[in-house]
């Protein structure tokens, strides 16, 4: 992988711990994340998998600078992070578009905040709308668009900022299987064209393997932490629908699932309680 062996990681989470005030227990704390060290090289696509509710999003929020960890530090290209991570783009699991703005107006929000000239921002916005396959939908409001199209708008909204690091929190989990595979392939195409560092959160192991250079498995919460790292040396460019049929894919899947199974069962037992 290009840049894989680069000395300075694009994103480094070092010894992160996050404690929250415990619900229904005044004065008590709940540890969502502990002893978590995750580094992502420039241009590397890393997926984080773990049981539902284990604290994956917490790690992403720490990486984005939206959440200050209780312990540990975040470094972005070797610089210690304080405040919002300006090098990063964040694609949320939930719908984050502004419903009162049209698709194009949503895409150009970032450049607009940065004070870019309106006409220039619009040109750039239209260009990105076309790149994510939404040409012709510039004037549509989010509620006119399907779930998949709204995700594309969100993708364009993030990529227009040209972030060096991309943080994605189960971005496609709400989509149907077909739309999801289309979006995954498009994401890979966009990523392939302009290698950025990606931290991709998912609970879907197949999605993680199909997309990534490396998969990090997390323990069940509370106090989640990485329990294993797996290099995915499948050939690129990939087609997420076809790659699942490779023998190597099945082998990796079995290997990671072996590590993850116990944690998923633990998480499941907690969910039932």
């Amino acid at each position: 992988m290009p840049g894989m062996d680069s000395a300075v990681p694009a994103l480094a989470l070092r010894d992160i711990a996050c404690h929250f005030p415990a619900r229904g227990n005044p004065g008590g704390t709940y540890t969502a994340v502990r002893d978590s060290t995750i580094t992502i090289a420039p241009g590397e696509f890393v997926s984080i998998v773990g049981p539902t509710g284990c604290g994956k999003s917490t790690l992403l929020n720490v990486a984005s600078g939206l959440l200050k960890p209780s312990q540990g530090t975040v470094e972005v290209f070797g610089q210690k992070l304080t405040g919002i991570n300006r090098q990063a783009g964040y694609m949320f699991q939930a719908d984050a578009l502004m419903p009162w703005r049209t698709a194009l107006e949503n895409v150009v929000v970032g450049p607009e905040f940065a004070g870019m000239d309106r006409a220039q921002a619009d040109r750039l916005g239209r260009d990105w709308m076309a790149r994510v396959g939404l040409a012709g939908f510039e004037k549509a409001y989010p509620h006119h668009l399907s779930g998949g199209m709204r995700k594309r708008v969100a993708l364009a909204q993030m990529l227009i900022m040209d972030p060096k690091v991309i943080l994605m929190d189960e971005p496609f989990s709400a989509l149907d299987v077909q739309t999801r595979q289309l979006m995954e392939n498009e994401l890979l195409d966009l990523w392939q064209a302009d290698r950025k560092s990606v931290m991709f959160i998912t609970h879907d192991l197949e999605e993680a393997i199909a997309l990534s250079d490396r998969v990090i498995a997390l323990a069940a919460g509370p106090g989640t932490h990485p329990i294993g790292e797996f290099a995915i040396d499948l050939p690129r460019p990939r087609d997420v629908a076809e790659i699942r049929h490779l023998e190597e894919f099945s082998r990796l899947h079995a290997q990671i699932w072996e590590a993850l199974k116990e944690e998923v069962l633990k998480g499941y037992a907690q969910g039932k309680r």
């Binding site: 939206l66 502004m98 970032g110």
Partner: protein
């Protein structure tokens, strides 16, 4: 299909109105109720016609509408500003909370005579009363609206580089607009109540004054004529707010309905 459905509703609404007037007329004509207490719809209509024909109503209507509109605008702006400020500043909000709750719980209509003492019997005291009524309606809605801004949309805007003022302008305010407008419909009514109650408590002009005068003469028809006039103009003001709302909130999803399906 769609059109005729609307037309049918309109026809039915007109029919209900006619039945109501006919019933009212019948009650008094057949002596079931005394004209002295419920009046007579035809005389009420005649009174309204007379008011407009002689032009004497315009002065009173002008005063009442002026008080209403000024109280509405000032109260709304004040409610919007304080609502935004307190919603975005937790400390100020905590500090002000008991006072606001108390002032809101207070039956503020009682303040009318005090305002009359402070500001005289002219329009100022009515506007002041209207503002105290309008302010809280708008304030609580704005406060609520800002507090309920989607945290994801907010986080997203921050990740896209929004400064504090940009967050306010492009997330908080647009997001709170729908709450503001739902409050404005109530606020128009409140502004009217403030103006009319103020006039009723002591004044020399305005529709509230006319009603008070008619009451003094046991002229029930005059009272009803005034009430109908006020209702009519309250509806007009509400419709204006509705039009502005539709223009500003055009992005909101409308309820999905098929065209051409049998009702």
């Amino acid at each position: 299909m769609f059109r005729s459905q609307n037309t049918r509703i309109l026809l039915a609404q007109i029919l209900i109105f006619i039945l109501f007037i006919a019933g009212w007329k019948a009650l008094t004509t057949f002596g079931i109720m005394s004209k002295f207490f419920v009046g007579d719809p035809f005389i009420v209509a005649g009174r309204l016609y007379e008011w407009f024909a002689t032009g004497m109503i315009f002065k009173h209507l002008g005063v009442t509408l002026f008080e209403t509109v000024v109280a509405f605008i000032l109260g709304s702006v004040l409610g919007l500003l304080v609502g935004l400020w307190l919603a975005l500043s937790p400390t100020a909000s905590q500090l002000a909370s008991p006072y606001l709750k108390g002032f809101n719980a207070m039956p503020r209509v009682i303040l009318a005579p005090i305002f009359a003492v402070w500001f005289g019997l002219g329009v100022t005291s009515k506007i002041a009363l209207g503002i105290t009524l309008v302010f809280f309606v708008v304030f609580f809605n704005v406060y609520q609206g800002v507090r309920e801004v989607s945290p994801v949309t907010l986080a997203n805007a921050r990740m896209l580089g929004a400064s504090r003022t940009q967050l306010l302008r492009s997330v908080y305010i647009p997001s709170a607009t729908s709450w503001v407008f739902s409050s404005l419909h109530a606020a128009v009514g409140m502004a009217f109540v403030g103006a009319v109650i103020g006039e009723y408590m002591g004044s020399a002009a305005g529709v509230g004054y006319l009603i008070l005068e008619a009451e003094g003469l046991f002229d029930i028809n005059g009272v009803f004529a005034g009430v109908i006039l006020l209702t009519f103009f309250a509806l007009i003001l509400d419709a204006i707010v509705g039009v502005v709302e539709a223009r500003l909130l055009h992005w909101q999803p409308r309820e999905a309905a098929t065209v051409g399906a049998p009702a």
